[in-house]
C-alpha cells in the first residue's frame, strides 16, 4: 500500500511552494503519523462520499429535469422558479413555521418549569421523575403518531370525548388545518419537553451555588437572583435548545406523514417542507425539483437559525 492517506488529508495549512526541504519534512511527518491518519480516515472518507458529494451533486441536480430513470435534461433555474411560485411550497413553509411556533414555545417553557421544579432541593424521587419525563423521547415517532391519532381522531377520539364531557361539539381535528397542526405540535411537545427539561436541569445544577449565596448576602431577592444569575448562566443552554429545536422543527416529517398521509391531510395543514420534498421527489419522482426544494429548505433553516441566534443573544439583561 503506497500511502493513500497523502491524497486526502489536507494537512498543509500554509502552502510552502519553494522550501522543498520543509515540504519533505512535512511528508516525513505525515508518513510517521500514518497510523493516526488511518485511524481517523473512515469518517472523512464516508463524509466525502455520503455528505460532501451529495451536497455538490444536489446543486447540479437542482438545475436538471429528471424523473430518476430517463434522461436528465438541463432546465436552468426552472426548478427554483417553480418552487418560488408554487403556492403548495409556500403553504408547506407556512405550515412548518406555524407548527414550529406552536410546539417550540410551549415546549421550552414547560421544560424550564419542570427543570426548576426538579431542581428544588426538597424534591424526592428525582431520578424516578427524570426517567418518566424522558421516556417519551425514546419512543419511535411512528408509534407516537399512531397513538396520538386515536386521541385526535375525527369522530370518536379521546379528545372529542373530553369535549363532550363539557357539552362541547366534537371537532374533526385531522380535517382542519389548525387541528392537525395542533395535533402535531402536541406530539412534538410531548416527545421533547422532558428531554429539554433534563438539559435545563443539568444547566441549573452546573450554576455554582456560591453565586446565589453571595447574592443573598448582598440582599438580592429570589426574583432578582433568578434574572441576574439563573437566566444569564443558563443562556448558552437555552440557545442550544432553541437551535436544536429549530433544526428539528424544520425537519418534521414522520408525524404528519403517518397521521394524515403524503398530502398533509384533507386540509393540507400537515404538509411540512420535508413532507413536500418527500412527496415531490419520492412519490411523484421529480428528482431535480426535489433537490431544489432541499436547497430552499437549507436557506430557510440557515436564515431561521441566524434570526434565532440573534434573538436569544440579542436581549442581554446585562452582560
Amino acid at each position: 500500500m503506497d500511502n493513500p492517506l497523502l491524497n486526502h488529508t489536507p494537512v498543509e495549512h500554509k502552502p510552502v511552494p519553494k522550501k522543498s526541504k520543509s515540504q519533505d519534512r512535512l511528508s516525513a511527518q505525515i508518513w510517521k503519523h500514518r497510523k493516526e491518519y488511518l485511524a481517523i480516515s473512515p469518517f472523512y472518507i464516508l463524509f466525502a462520499i455520503f455528505g460532501l458529494f451529495p451536497i455538490a451533486f444536489s446543486m447540479f441536480l437542482s438545475f436538471q429535469k429528471w424523473d430518476g430513470i430517463g434522461e436528465m435534461t438541463f432546465n436552468g433555474l426552472n426548478n427554483y422558479q417553480f418552487m418560488l411560485t408554487d403556492p403548495e411550497f409556500w403553504r408547506a413553509v407556512g405550515n412548518t413555521l406555524l407548527i414550529w411556533i406552536y410546539s417550540t414555545i410551549p415546549m421550552l417553557f414547560i421544560a424550564l418549569v419542570v427543570a426548576f421544579l426538579l431542581n428544588a432541593s426538597f424534591v424526592r424521587f428525582r431520578t424516578f421523575f427524570r426517567i418518566g419525563y424522558f421516556l417519551p423521547n425514546v419512543t419511535s415517532l411512528v408509534a407516537v403518531a399512531i397513538v396520538f391519532g386515536t386521541v385526535f381522531s375525527n369522530n370518536y377520539g379521546l379528545l372529542n370525548y373530553i369535549l363532550s364531557l363539557f357539552g362541547l361539539n366534537s371537532v374533526e381535528w385531522l380535517n382542519k388545518t389548525w387541528g392537525i397542526q395542533l395535533a402535531i405540535s402536541v406530539m412534538v411537545i410531548w416527545r421533547w419537553a422532558g428531554y429539554n427539561a433534563i438539559i435545563y436541569l443539568a444547566g441549573l445544577q452546573s450554576i455554582p451555588t456560591v453565586l446565589y449565596e453571595a447574592a443573598k448576602i448582598d440582599g438580592a431577592s429570589g426574583i432578582q437572583s433568578f434574572f441576574k444569575i439563573t437566566i444569564p448562566n443558563l443562556r448558552p443552554i437555552i440557545l442550544f435548545t432553541v437551535i436544536t429545536s429549530t433544526i428539528g422543527g424544520m425537519q418534521i416529517f414522520t408525524e404528519p406523514q403517518v397521521l394524515v398521509g403524503n398530502d398533509g391531510g384533507v386540509s393540507g395543514g400537515g404538509l411540512t417542507i420535508v413532507l413536500y420534498l418527500y412527496r415531490e421527489a419520492f412519490v411523484n419522482n421529480y428528482f431535480g425539483y426535489g433537490a431544489a426544494v432541499g436547497w430552499g429548505m437549507f436557506v430557510l433553516i440557515a436564515l431561521f437559525s441566524i434570526v434565532n441566534w440573534k434573538m436569544v443573544q440579542g436581549n442581554p439583561s446585562n452582560d
Partner: protein, 273 residues
Amino acid sequence: MFKWKSILLHLGLIAGLLLSIFPFYWLLVMATRTTSDIYSFPPKLWFGPHLLDNVSRVLSSIDFFGAFWNTLFVAAACTLLVLFFDSLAGFTFAKFQFPGKKWLFVLLLATMMAPAQLSLVPSFVIMAEFGWVGSYKALIIPGMVNAFGIFWIRQYAQESVPSELLDAGKIDGCGFFRLYWNISLPILRPALSFLAAFTFIGVWNDYLWPLIILNDESKFTLQVALSSLNGIYTTDYSMVIAGTLLAVIPLIVMFLFISKQFISDIAAGAIKS
C-alpha cells in the same frame, strides 16, 4: 409553609408525569381492546381481554418477527461499527499529535452543521448508482461513523485515559492498535455504552431514510412495517395498536435498564457542546 410548598411541587411534578406516561398506558389499554371499543363513547379506560387475539392478528398480517430481526440487525450492525470507528478516531484525536490535527477536528465539528435533508435526493441517487437501493448497506454504511460520537469519545478520552499509561504501553512494545484496543478501550467503556445506546435508539427509530430505501416488504424495518400496517389496515385498528405496542416494548425495556446513566450522559453531552 415549607411542607405545603413541597406538596404542591410534588403534585405539579406528578401531574406532568401522568401526562408523560398516559400515552403509554392508553396504548396498553387499546391493545387489549377491540376496534369498536377503541372508538366507543365513553372510551374504555381500563384493560380488556383481547390482547392475545390482537397480537395473533398482527402476526398473521405482517411478518412481525422478520421486521423485528431486520431492525435488530441494522441497529446492531450500525452500533458496533459506530463504536469501533468513533472510538478509534476519538481516541486518536484525544491522545496523539499529528500535523493538521486541529484543522481536521474543526472540519469534523463543522460537518455536524450540514443538514441531512439537503442531501436526501442525491443520497438516494448515489445509492441507486451503487445498486444499494433495497439493501441494508444503504442504511448501515453511511451511518457507521459519525462526528458526534468522535467528539463524545474524544472529550471522554482526554479526561480519563492517562498519557503515562500509554507511554508505559509504548515502552512495553505496544503498537498503535494495541494502545487503543487493549489499553484505552476498557477505560472508555462508560462513554462507549452511552454512544451504543444513543446510536441504537436512533437507528431503531429511524423512519424517513429506511422508508425511501427499502422497497421489499420482507426487508422492512419495524418503523416502516408499522407505518404500512397503519396505512393498510385502517379498519382493524386494535390490531394496528397491538403491533405498535409490540414495536415499542423492546426499546422501552432496554431504556429502563440504562435510563439513569443515559439521561445524565444526554445532559452532559448537551452542556459540553
